[in-house]
Symmetry: C2
Subunit: 212 residues, 2 copies
């Protein structure tokens, strides 16, 4: 939080709102990895919801992402196509060396080195409910990592299955409901059948985390 | 088939095999739209299977794609991120105006104007079984449509749900098994919740096709 008092909030916003679709945020729910935390960077998969061109998030209480945003009011979306990184960032802390700091207004904000594109957002109109924090997102800065753009994302049902399994795994951890295990096993079959090495490693890790 | 006799087969192959992952074909099953047919272009979603770096396809008998490949021994993979185009090309013939012809060796081959990247493959070691044609794929030519690369693909569970629903819809049409309808309804909920306009239009069309 060094150098991030309320007086520092008047940094320059982007003179023009970037076309968010060029940076991986589009109408509907865009599944990205959100990085937060000026001092102690953290990353976790979050769906950024866009309705009528306006992006917002719903962050469930208790997570690192929620704690950082509640305190600092900033987050960055990171477009990532690596299935293992989705699983790792869901269940573990990433290494500090996996982040880099990008200039965003008057300060530096952590984004993922693996990101193909990132957008730093200020969180405004913050509302707290019993279960979650809801905030509108105002883009402050956006960028690409050109070195990662050469590999064209591939549509792979196995990759999609890893995403679904990860969502259901977090629900299983919260509720203990066995129906989620059935879904996870269904998606493991799909990841194994359609995925490449990345998908298989990701599902292996997810099974280890769940102890199944 | 004009100008495509066996004598024309000696056109130059790519001097170097392109890095297929840059063109959207990777280990595992890459879901692309395959275009075929020198004279009468056709397009349909196909999973290109890559094992140990070697791509191949399994084409079920009776489809246009199967008929064209059985006769002409060429196909092109088209990387497309438009959910409606996946559904349209599954159930309908695309308009001739939706194709463009790219030079591939000594001839011109149809690819989709909407493709972000395409690869024209020769189909070799063709094996016919009772149900399918199986062929190894040798890349002949590959290209990008730079104009379409600016929009970064977004991970969207709704988009993935449209893909899954389309797979299950074709199985439902073949088998009439009601279990596929249940899966399709599950994915419709996901597409509606997480998708943007494209996903919603795609699912609407899919429901119309199935008459549900």
């Amino acid at each position: 939080m060094t150098g991030f008092s309320s007086g520092c909030r008047e940094f320059e916003k982007l003179s023009q709102i970037p076309d968010l679709s060029s940076f991986g945020i589009r109408e509907g729910i865009s599944e990205v990895i959100v990085s937060t935390g000026f001092e102690s960077p953290n990353a976790a998969p979050i769906g950024i919801i866009t309705k009528g061109g306006k992006p917002f998030v719903r962050l469930f209480k208790g997570s690192h992402t929620w704690a950082n945003v509640a305190k600092e009011r900033y987050l960055a979306s990171n477009v990532v196509y690596d299935p293992l990184l989705f699983v790792r960032s869901t269940f573990f802390d990433l290494e500090p060396s996996e982040f880099e700091y990008v200039p965003a207004g008057g300060f530096k904000f952590p984004v993922l080195k693996e990101a193909i594109a990132w957008v730093v957002f200020e969180c405004v109109n913050v509302k707290n409910t019993d279960q979650a924090l809801i905030a509108d997102l105002v883009p402050v800065e956006a960028g690409f990592n050109e070195g990662h753009r050469k590999d064209l994302p591939v549509l792979n049902r196995g990759f999609n299955a890893v995403l679904e399994a990860t969502v259901h795994a977090t629900r299983y951890q919260l509720s203990g409901d066995e129906k989620y295990l059935e879904l996870i096993r269904h998606y493991e079959t799909l990841a194994s059948k359609c995925g490449g090495d990345g998908e298989k490693k990701a599902m292996k890790l997810l099974y280890e985390v769940l102890g199944i």
